[in-house]
């Protein structure tokens, strides 16, 4: 029996890279299809940022904010809002439901590499994040008189999509602690106040000083400042400071998610 298990272990590490890659791609593809067809996710993730942007950026936005047209300024903040929503709901809601109602266990009993499960959710969220940002840009260019060069546009999209990662990690952390049915409500209780306090709905300069100072502690603030920097507004702080905040926050969330993962595995395997 000892020899049997040694031979087994030696063949263990050898899932060919091509096969591994195929699993990850399929996991991401079906996660995407699953959420695309789930209107509670796909419609609300796209609809709310777009609606807010049309309302406040295009219909009511006739002024400038800090020397920049409202329509350009709000592309940055509502994109951040949209990216955050796509990431939080894309990871936390599904994880909480699948953990709580037995589906994750079916997948864990299969030979699925555990990391593929999380990667699939993150990639899916990033596709939706990209879609939201592109839609807002399209609206801004077409109806809001926004002008941006190709490299500036690409930089904005890339920053926001990479910047969605901290919120994916936050989603995983929430997903490990929220109940299967209450997760969407829990997410909203975090998502909406956090967005408001970070100046994603109403620009920070229109908020009281106390809130402006408090915003520095919030991760969405830092992502929105990075985005605003690219469109030509923002507070002109060092980009590194913002990235450091976001990286630090991600590490913290990953720690919490890892704790949740191990607690579950402990229940399963301990």
């Amino acid at each position: 029996m000892a020899t049997a298990s040694t031979t087994l272990t030696s063949s263990a590490a050898q899932r060919p890279l091509g096969h591994m890659l195929r699993i990850y791609l399929k996991e991401a593809k079906y996660e995407f299809l699953k959420n695309l067809r789930l209107r509670a996710y796909s419609v609300s993730t796209i609809f709310f940022p777009v609606m807010f942007y049309i309302l406040f950026g295009l219909v009511l936005g006739r002024n400038t904010i800090g020397g920049l047209s409202t329509s350009a300024y709000l592309i940055a903040t509502y994109s951040t809002f949209g990216v955050m929503g796509a990431s939080l709901f894309g990871t936390a809601a599904a994880l909480a439901a699948e953990r709580g109602l037995g589906w994750l266990q079916v997948k864990r009993a299969s030979p699925m590499p555990p990391f593929a499960y999380f990667a699939g959710k993150v990639i899916m969220s990033m596709i939706f994040s990209t879609t939201v940002v592109m839609l807002l840009l399209l609206l801004g260019f077409t109806f809001g008189g926004v002008h941006m060069g190709l490299s500036q546009t690409a930089q904005l999209v890339a920053t926001l999509v990479v910047g969605s990662l901290p919120f994916c990690t936050m989603g995983l952390a929430i997903g490990y602690f929220a109940g299967p049915n209450s997760a969407p409500a829990t997410i909203n209780m975090i998502y909406l106040p956090l967005s408001f306090c970070s100046g994603l709905w109403v620009p920070l300069m229109f908020l009281p000083k106390l809130m402006r100072d408090f915003a520095r502690f919030l991760p969405p603030y830092h992502l929105s400042q990075l985005a605003l920097g690219i469109v030509g507004a923002g507070r002109h702080e060092s980009n590194w400071t913002h990235w450091e905040y976001l990286i630090g926050f991600s590490v913290l969330c990953l720690g919490v998610a890892r704790f949740g993962f191990q607690r579950d595995e402990g229940k399963m395997y301990g």
Partner: protein, 315 residues
């Protein structure tokens, strides 16, 4: 007892094939609850073994241990000579578990395509669809399926990787008779392909219809083991219901009577074999009426089995 002879031969036959999965001296506690106590249990190559027991007996716990989804407090679990959590063991097993919610916005073939991708040499999707009888509904969303169809999709996910060993945890629970028979047919096909299968169920009928060997589990311990006919002989007693003038105590003293209750105006008599007792009853009470003979439920059968264990009916 007669049962001893076939039982030992059953054991000999079973031990002939190599063991593919084993629980050895396994105990598993969930807090205060002892889900399994000192269980020894083997699955042999090519057999369908049914783990039969009432709800809460520890069937699902045993399956979870075999799948590496739980770790024993005591004892060892080995599957194909290795630890079930290893990926190289997992590619040789498939599982159908009880799940409250499956993602509903994926199509049947999409679910199967994804699970197939986890395995190095899966069955062609068309073959999986055919074995599980899903060809006509392969493009339906999971959320639009009936209960029986949903179970068949979960069954397909267990077999799509062409694993050597399958775990089916209460595969037909909540299904109507028709859907149950369809799934039985498919499980038989699997065994015909040479797979080893562990099936858990709380229907004696189901274990009888499918299994080569039945292991009866009750309150976390194995209380009986044998071929379906041996188990039925031990457990599937009869229940006689009749209206009689005879005294309860007199009936209780009849040979072969296990237990007697007064149920409204009638008596309920539990026994292994009904005919001799009916003959005796009719001989003693000509006015006896309303005779009904039914198979004792599993719960009653367990009562009989556990009582056997206490040695009362050893003679």
């Amino acid at each position: 007892m007669i049962a001893t002879l076939p039982e030992s031969s059953a054991r000999e036959r079973a031990t002939g094939a190599p063991v593919v999965a084993r629980l050895h001296g396994v105990s598993k506690n969930y807090g205060e609850i002892k889900a399994l106590r000192q269980v020894d249990f083997n699955i042999h190559a090519g057999e369908l073994v049914a783990l039969l027991g009432p709800n809460g007996a520890g069937k699902t716990t045993a399956v979870k241990l075999f799948l590496g989804l739980a770790k024993p407090n005591q004892g060892t679990v080995s599957v194909f000579g290795g630890n079930p959590v290893h990926p190289e063991v997992r590619v040789r097993t498939g599982a159908m578990l009880q799940v409250s919610r499956v993602p509903e916005t994926l199509r049947v073939r999409e679910h199967i395509d994804l699970f197939s991708s986890y395995y190095p040499e899966p069955l062609p999707i068309s073959e999986t669809l055919s074995i599980a009888g899903l060809e006509t509904i392969k493009d339906r969303l999971f959320g639009d399926l009936s209960g029986g169809q949903r179970q068949r999709v979960l069954f397909a996910l267990a077999l799509c990787g062409d694993p050597d060993l399958l775990f089916l945890d209460e595969p037909t629970v909540g299904l109507d008779v028709e859907a149950r028979r369809v799934l039985w047919e498919q499980i038989r096909k699997l065994v015909a392909r040479g797979k080893s299968v562990l099936l858990t169920t709380h229907y004696l009928e189901e274990a009888d219809a499918l299994a080569d060997r039945i292991v009866v589990i009750h309150q976390g311990a194995i209380i009986a083991e044998g071929t379906p006919s041996e188990i039925k002989a031990q457990t599937a007693g009869k229940k006689i219901r009749c209206v009689t003038r005879l005294e309860l105590d007199a009936v209780r003293r009849l040979p072969g009577v296990l237990e007697v209750h007064q149920d409204r105006e009638a008596l309920e008599i539990h026994t292994a074999v009904a005919e001799p007792i009916i003959r005796e009853l009719l001989a003693r009470d000509a006015s006896l009426s309303g005779i009904e003979v039914t198979s004792a439920g599993l719960e009653e059968a367990f009562l009989a089995l556990t009582r056997d264990d206490n040695g009362k009916t050893a003679a």
